[in-house]
């Protein structure tokens, strides 16, 4: 994967473009511009956040994470449910987000892991990134979420669209009351 891609101008140009995309997404989420955020999602989006398990040495590959399509996970969703989540917040009576949380999406370590057909003419890119999401609500309630993301972005006529996202939250027992934010 990544190791095989040339780190040439085309690569870095594409990386910059993808960074911008992820930063823009973070702005949409933290500024609560959910409608615009939904527009960034492909209709066939698969949005996945597994649970992480403590397993014996040597068994991580098969057992560490819950499996998309098989197990219960934190998120294993399509665009429809994400739109529902937005709709719910916008009712103004979704108490877990009313009053609204203060959110900060820190996005870092952005890398292009694959580009098809090429960096120069990419129609589809696999992107790795890291995040810290800082959430504070009501008075002192505070949560810190940290982890990695593996995305698949597709270039459509209107711009890039998120087709796949895998979110690896680095927690076992979830150290939060709720997952009302998008990652």
């Amino acid at each position: 994967m990544a190791a095989e891609m040339a780190r040439d101008l085309a690569y870095f140009r594409l990386r910059e473009e993808v960074e911008e995309l992820l930063y823009e997404e973070a702005d949409l989420l933290d500024q609560r511009r959910f409608g615009e955020w939904l527009e960034l999602l492909a209709d066939d989006l698969h949005y996945f956040m597994p649970m992480r398990r403590n397993v014996a040495f040597g068994t991580h590959a098969e057992k560490e994470n819950t499996r998309a399509g098989h197990d219960i996970s934190w998120f294993d969703e399509d665009k429809w449910t994400l739109a529902k989540r937005v709709d719910q917040i916008m009712t103004g009576i979704h108490w877990a987000e009313e009053p609204r949380s203060r959110l900060c999406h820190i996005v870092t370590n952005v890398r292009v892991l694959a580009a098809r057909p090429s960096c120069a003419a990419a129609r589809e890119v696999e992107v790795g990134s890291r995040f810290i999401v800082y959430q504070n609500r009501v008075e002192t309630e505070t949560y810190i979420f940290a982890g990695r993301r593996n995305d698949l972005w597709r270039r459509a006529d209107q711009g890039w669209r998120l087709a796949k996202r895998e979110i690896l939250l680095e927690q076992n027992v979830l150290l939060a009351k709720n997952l009302t934010t998008f990652f």
């Binding site: 956040m49 597994p50 649970m51 398990r53 403590n54 397993v55 014996a56 068994t59 057992k63 819950t66 499996r67 399509g69 098989h70 197990d71 219960i72 996970s73 934190w74 998120f75 294993d76 969703e77 429809w80 449910t81 529902k84 989540r85 709709d87 719910q88 009712t91 009576i93 979704h94 108490w95 877990a96 987000e97 009501v138 309630e141 076992n172 027992v173 979830l174 150290l175 939060a176 009351k177 709720n178 997952l179 009302t180």
Partner: protein, 446 residues
């Protein structure tokens, strides 16, 4: 000012806030309640093979659910007898031995202390049989679900259940009416909330009155058929025309179920997917055939005293409210499905379960917000002087009509009153006759 003395006054329908926030009372709960009552530990499908283990919790402690070489299922306290080290720090797996990382004492999957380095020279007189892993004195496998109690004198699990058994059966049995046949999906929800565990237990034993808190999800519609276009609120309505019943049981259990019309036709549900629709139609008809009159009972939600709750159908899961502190609870949820259901059915249910339940569940997020800030607002010096109100439908209850138990046909807090009546008895150190409410004692206690 309404004063609350004693802490629980179910006659007047008031309960002190102290029991939700007081450190001393919390410590007593661990000692007198969680160390005696039957607690849910896990499901046999999680330890299918010899050597399989699943690390679970009882009260505030880690326990190991495992199957030994003889295929016997055991529940052990997860601590070494030498210096207390947690012998298993994995969530699940398969092992021939639990070897302690500190000094390598090792225990077989049946709990026996089988390995003590240099035992001949250093422990010539050690009677190893006295130093096995600490095993629960009472354990039962009920239709695949494993329950345990730390009290050797605890009554049999069925006696402990009493008439709530009929309702629990509807949760555990196959949708087509065959006994058992359920399995647990891989992936157990585990998360921590800043609320007292009883808010959750009480909410599930029949607090239908909090429906308005879920208005946001009802407005948008996330039911199994929601994607098919029609807004079905939180769930498809399988209960049309049925008689909702709220039932309280002497041992403290409480449920909200539906008693359907005789020969009620199948209510179309899961319209999203033909294969799934057919599966449930088939199950419905098959179940009616098998259970006859009994098939009229459909479970909604319930709590098996003290801290195991269920969703009966949509979604279908067991939830355990593990006490961490007066104001913190670690929640574990196990999602159930018919083991032999077609992939499409499992898949649709799995997605529905995830969007409904847990920290990412559009319905339950609002419950947790409420439990959180209800707990917080009850801690204050002044607040603690004002008890909660449990007077809803006070006295509006009948015995055994149409089904066994103290039944209300209108929304009620009777089950909550029953729950706290039992809670008080545990804290008073009552004997088991009183605890499971054998009639004579029960009168006395009231």
């Amino acid at each position: 000012m309404i004063s609350s003395d004693p802490l629980v006054d179910t006659e007047r329908g008031i309960v002190s806030r102290e029991i939700f926030v007081n450190d001393g009372i919390f410590a007593e709960e661990l000692e007198t309640l969680f160390a005696r009552a039957w607690l849910f530990v896990g499901h046999e499908s999680q330890v299918a093979n010899p050597g399989d283990y699943f690390v679970s919790r009882m009260g505030a402690e880690s326990v190991i659910l495992c199957r030994d070489k003889q295929r016997q299922v055991h529940v052990f306290l997860n601590t070494c007898r030498h210096r207390g080290m947690k012998v298993c720090r994995y969530d699940e797996g398969n092992t021939p031995l639990f070897t302690c990382p500190y000094h390598n004492w090792s225990y077989a999957t049946d709990g026996r202390l089988v390995g003590v380095p240099q035992h001949k020279e250093l422990y010539p007189d050690l009677d190893r049989s006295q130093w096995s892993l600490i095993e629960v004195p009472r354990m039962v496998n009920y239709k695949g679900t494993i329950w345990a109690s730390w009290d050797p004198k605890a009554p049999d699990f069925l006696a402990y259940l009493g008439d709530v058994k009929d309702h629990l059966d509807q949760v555990l049995d196959h949708r087509d009416g065959r006994p058992g046949g359920s399995e647990v999906f891989g992936g157990i929800h585990k998360w921590i909330i800043p609320a007292n565990w009883k808010f959750a237990a009480e909410n599930f034993l029949g607090d239908t009155y909090h429906n308005p808190s879920h208005r946001s999800v009802d407005l948008i519609g996330i039911g199994p058929s929601a994607n098919a276009g029609q807004n079905t609120g939180r769930r498809d309505n399988e209960y049309q025309g049925g008689q909702h019943v709220w039932v309280s049981f002497p041992a403290g259990h409480g449920v909200h179920s539906v008693w359907k019309q005789p020969n009620a036709p199948y209510v179309e549900s899961f319209r999203d997917n033909k294969e799934v629709e057919e599966y449930f139609r088939h199950c419905y008809e098959e179940r009616t055939r098998r259970l006859g009159e009994k098939s009229r009972l459909l479970p909604f939600t319930g709590t098996i005293f003290p801290n195991t709750s269920y969703h009966g159908r949509q979604p279908r899961a067991l939830c355990v409210w593990h006490p961490v502190s007066p104001t913190q609870t670690e929640i574990w949820r196990f999602f159930l499905v018919d083991a032999d259901a077609p992939a499409a059915v499992k898949d649709l249910l799995r997605h529905y379960y995830m969007r409904y339940s847990g920290p990412a569940g559009m319905t339950e997020q609002d419950d947790m917000e409420n439990w959180n800030y209800a707990t917080a607002a009850s801690r204050g010096t002044i607040a603690r002087r004002y008890p909660y109100n449990y007077q809803q439908s006070l006295g509006r209850v009948r015995e055994g009509e149409p089904i066994p138990g103290r039944v209300s046909t209108q929304v009620t807090e009777e089950s909550a009153r029953g729950f706290y009546r039992s809670w008080q008895r545990y804290l008073d150190g009552a004997d088991w006759d009183a605890l499971i409410g054998r009639a004579p004692v029960r009168q006395a206690a009231e």
